[in-house]
Amino acid sequence: MTGRGGTLAVYVLLAAVAFALWRLGLALWSVLEAGLLAMTPLALAAVGECLNEKAGVVNIGLEGIFLLSAVTGVWTAEAFGSGAVGLVGGALTGALLGLGLGALSVYGRADQVIAGMGLNIAALGLVPFLLIGLWAFPGIHLFAPELTVPRLHTPLVQISPVTILAVLVALGAHLVLHRTVLGFRIRAVGEAPEAADASGIRVERLRLFTSTLGGALAGVAGAFLPLGWFGGLVKEISAGRGFIALGCVVFAGLEPLLALGAAFLFGFAEGVAFAVAITPGVKERVPFYFVNMLPYVTTLLVVTVAIGQRRFPRTVGRPYARE
C-alpha cells in the first residue's frame, strides 16, 4: 500500500462512514461544524510543532500545554472579562512552557522526549490542583457564557474566528518555511546544525524561537478548548488531543499545509463522533464507546499507512553540541 493510495483510502473510508451515518439520520452540516471546531486546536498545535521539528526540536509535551493553557486561559478570561484575552493568556502560558522545554533541550541537553512526557504527567496533576486552588471546586469549572469566543454565523455552519486563524497560521507557516530567510535557516538548522553554526547562525536561539512559537500556538489551541468550543472546563479537557496533533505532524511529514489537512481529517472523525452522540435515533443504535474511539483509531490508521514515505530532518530530537 503506497502512502498516497493509503491516505486516499482512509479519506474514502471516512466518507463511507459519514454516508452510512447520514443514512441513519445524521445531519451532515452539524458534523462539519463540529469537525471544524475539532480541527482548530489540532491544526494550531500541529503547525507549531511542524516548525519546531523542522528546526530539529521535538516537543511531545503538547498535551501538557493544552491542559495548562486551558486553565490559565479561562482564568485570564475571567480576570479581564473577555474570551479573546483568555486566548492570549493561553498563548502566553504555552509560550512560556515551550520556552522552558526548549531551554532544557538546548542548554541542558535534556532528553526531549522524556522532558515532554514529564510535562504531560505534571499537567495531569496540576490541573485538578489548580481547579481547587483557583475556583475551590474539584473536577469542573463552568464560566459565564459571555466569555466564550463568539462564532461567526454563515448560512450553513457556524465558524469560530479561531478556526479561520488556524487556517491562516497554516498558510503563513508554509510561506515562512519555504519562501523566507527565516524558514531557510530553520530547515538548515534541523538538517545540519553544524553547517548552520559554521555559517554564523545562532542555532540555539533559533531553536528556542521555534520552541516558544510552537508552544504559543499550542497554548492558543489549549485555551480554545474551553473558551471557543466546550464552554466549560473539566479535568480531562484535552483527552489526548495533544498526541493526536503529534500524529498530524508525523502524517504531514512536517509540512504545515498537510498538517492542516490531517487536522481536518481527525477533526472530521471527532465531528462524526460528536454528532452521533447527540442525534436522536442514531445514538441509540451505535454504542458511543466505539464512536469515541474513532479519532484514535483514525490516527493510528493514518500514521501507520503514511509513515513509510516521510523524511524527517536528520537531527530531530538530538541536542547540538559544538565541542
Binding site: 519562501r179 523566507t180 530567510v181 527565516l182 545540519a192 553547517a195 559554521a198 559544538r322
Partner: protein, 520 residues
C-alpha cells in the same frame, strides 16, 4: 623575508570538560601571504588549535591577536568577521541544499521575513569562481556531488565571507592525487593574491611541497618549527613522533594456499541507490594479506558490508571455503570462520555503555561455551575469557567491569581486534584497523595481522592509508569507483603509479623504481 604578522596566538591552553588536555601552552604565528603547515599525528592538537582560532572552540587560557588587536571569539561568526575562516575535515554543508544555498546560508542579506537574495549571491559566486578558478555546479544538492567538489563548495563558502586567513584541516584526505595538485595550484594563487593559509596535515611529503614554513605539534605542544626549505621528511617525522618511524614488519616466506574467499562479479548498491561496487572479482588465499587501497568513498565500505553480512548485495556471488555466503547473517559468517574488524569501532564494534567483559562477548553471545541451559549466560566463563583477552592483547583497563567508553581509542581497538582474532577465524576482514590510534597500538595491531597471515590465515585489508597497505600486503588492489583499477603483487608498481590508479588513471606499462619491497 620578513612578513607582516597577521595572527599571533600566545600560550594557548585547552583542557576539555572530561579532563583531557589538548593543548599545553602553544604559540603560533601566521604571516601575511604565507602558507604555514601544521603537522602532527592524530591527537596532537592541530585541529583543536585551529578550531580555537576560527571560533569553534574557546581556549582555557591564552590570547589571540589578529592584526595586532586582541580578540575573543564567542562563535565562528566572530572569527569570520575578522576574516578568519576554516574548512573542516568533515564538511559543514547541509546535504539537501545546493551549493548556492549552502554558500548563501548565513549571509542572505535581507530580513528574516523576506525571501533570500538568490540572484545577487549567484552573481557574486560566479565572479568568485572566475577569480579563483574553482568551479562547482551551483544547483545540485551537495550530497550528490563527489567529495572533491564538495570541498570546493566549502572553500568557496568560506572565501565568500571575505576571509583573508584560510584554514584547511586535512584537506587532501579524501582527494585523488590529481585533485590534490589542483588544490595546491589554487592555494598558491590565493597566496599570491594576498591571503594567509594554514594547512593542517599529517602527510610529510605534502606539507613540504605546499608550505613555506612547517610547525610540528606533538601531544599538545610545539616540538619544532622549520622553513620547508630547511626541512627533510626524516626531521619532520622525528619531531612528529619523537623517534625514527617506519617500523618494518618482517614476515615468513610462504606461498599462499587455497582460496579462502572468492568474490565473483559482485555488485552492491549504495544507500542512494547507485552502484557502489561494480562487477568485482577477486580472491584471498590462505597465508596472504590482500590489501585494498584507494581513497575512501569508492565503494570500499559497501564492499565490506556486503561481505560481512551487513548489507545485501545486488548481484554476483561470494564463496567462503567454497560455500556461497552472500545473504548470511554476521553470526552465520562467524560460524564459518569469518571475523570482521569494523571501520568504525564505536559504531559497529563496541557498545560503549557496556563494560569490558560484556563487550568481549559481542558476537559470541550465542556460543554454547558461554551460554548454558535456558539461555543462561555463564558469566564465570565470560569473565575468564575477558581476562585472557586483556592479558594477551595488553589492553590497559582499570578492570573488567569498567564501561568501555572510558578506555582510550587504542585500547578499545585492541579489545576489538583481540576479540576478533581470538575467534580463530580463517579469514579476517580488517577495515582501517589502525585509524586514529597511537603509534604503539598501530604497530602492535599491524604485527598481529601479519602473524595471523604467517600462521596460515587469510587477511583482507581495506585501508585509506597507503603506507599501511603497502607495509602489510602481499598483493594489493586499487579501488576506484567501485572497480579494481589494478591488482598485483606489492612490488609491481611505484608509489606514483598507485597514486594515479587511486585517481582512476591506469598507468600504461609504467615501471618506475620498484616500491620498497616487503621483507620476505
Amino acid at each position: 623575508m620578513t612578513r607582516t604578522l597577521r595572527v599571533e596566538m600566545r600560550a594557548i591552553h585547552k583542557v576539555y570538560a572530561d579532563g583531557t588536555i589538548a593543548l599545553r601552552g602553544v604559540d603560533f604565528r601566521i604571516g601575511q601571504q604565507e602558507i604555514v603547515g601544521l603537522l602532527g599525528e592524530n591527537g596532537a592538537g592541530k585541529s583543536t588549535l585551529m578550531k580555537i582560532l576560527s571560533g569553534f572552540v574557546r581556549p582555557t587560557r591564552g590570547e589571540i591577536l589578529v592584526d595586532g588587536v586582541p580578540r575573543r571569539f564567542g562563535s565562528p561568526a566572530d572569527a569570520l568577521r575578522v576574516g578568519i575562516g576554516m574548512v573542516h575535515q568533515t564538511f559543514t554543508l547541509v546535504p539537501v541544499y545546493s551549493a548556492l544555498e549552502n554558500i548563501l546560508l548565513g549571509q542572505e542579506a535581507t530580513g528574516p521575513l523576506r525571501p533570500p537574495q538568490w540572484r545577487g549571491m549567484r552573481r557574486r559566486i560566479e565572479q568568485l569562481m572566475e577569480e579563483t578558478g574553482l568551479t562547482v555546479p551551483l544547483d545540485a544538492p551537495v550530497e550528490t556531488l563527489p567529495v572533491g567538489v564538495q570541498q570546493r563548495v566549502e572553500i568557496l563558502k568560506v572565501l565568500s565571507r571575505g576571509t583573508s586567513i584560510l584554514i584547511l584541516d586535512e584537506p587532501t584526505s579524501a582527494l585523488t592525487p590529481r585533485e590534490v595538485t589542483d588544490l595546491f595550484a589554487f592555494l598558491r594563487g590565493l597566496k599570491a593574491r594576498g591571503s594567509a593559509i594554514v594547512f593542517i596535515t599529517h602527510k610529510l611529503r605534502e606539507v613540504l611541497e605546499i608550505a613555506d614554513r612547517v610547525v610540528v605539534l606533538r601531544a599538545g605542544q610545539v616540538t619544532g618549527e622549520r622553513s620547508s626549505a630547511d626541512a627533510t621528511p626524516e626531521m619532520l617525522a622525528e619531531m612528529m613522533v619523537g623517534r625514527a618511524v617506519v617500523p618494518r614488519i618482517s614476515r615468513l616466506f610462504r606461498t599462499p594456499g587455497r582460496p579462502v574467499l572468492e568474490v565473483r562479479s559482485l555488485g552492491v548498491l549504495s544507500d542512494r541507490g547507485t552502484l557502489a561496487v561494480r562487477d568485482l572479482s577477486f580472491e584471498v588465499r590462505e597465508g596472504e594479506v590482500f590489501g585494498i587501497a584507494g581513497v575512501e568513498g569508492n565503494g570500499q565500505s559497501e564492499l565490506v558490508q556486503a561481505l560481512t553480512g551487513l548489507r545485501p548485495a545486488a548481484s554476483g556471488e561470494v564463496l567462503l571455503h567454497g560455500a556461497p555466503v552472500l545473504f548470511l547473517s554476521p553470526l552465520e559468517l562467524y560460524r564459518r570462520g569469518m571475523s570482521h574488524i569494523p571501520e568504525d569501532r564505536t559504531r559497529f564494534g563496541l557498545a560503549l555503555e557496556f563494560d569490558v567483559a560484556e563487550n568481549s562477548l559481542l558476537g559470541r553471545q550465542a556460543e554454547p561455551a558461554f551460554v548454558g541451559p535456558l539461555g543462561r549466560l555463564r558469566w564465570d566463563r565470560v569473565l575468564r575469557y575477558a581476562a585472557e583477552l586483556v592479558d594477551r592483547f595488553q589492553i590497559h583497563t582499570p578492570g573488567l567491569r569498567v564501561p568501555v567508553r572510558s578506555l582510550s581509542g587504542g585500547n578499545q581497538q585492541r579489545l576489538v581486534v583481540g576479540r576478533e582474532l581470538s575467534k580463530r577465524p580463517t579469514l579476517v576482514v580488517a577495515v582501517h584497523p589502525t585509524r586514529g590510534l597511537d603509534v604503539a597500538s598501530t604497530a602492535y595491531i599491524r604485527e598481529l595481522l601479519v602473524r595471523m597471515r604467517d600462521e596460515g590465515g587469510a587477511v583482507l585489508l581495506v585501508s585509506a592509508d597507503l603506507d599501511e597497505v603497502l607495509e602489510l600486503s602481499d598483493r594489493i588492489a586499487v579501488m576506484y569507483e567501485g572497480r579494481f583499477v589494478g591488482v598485483g603483487t606489492t612490488e609491481r608498481w611505484s608509489r606514483e603509479a598507485i597514486g594515479m590508479m587511486m585517481g582512476g588513471i591506469v598507468p600504461h606499462g609504467v615501471q618506475d623504481a620498484a616500491v620498497r619491497p616487503v621483507h620476505r
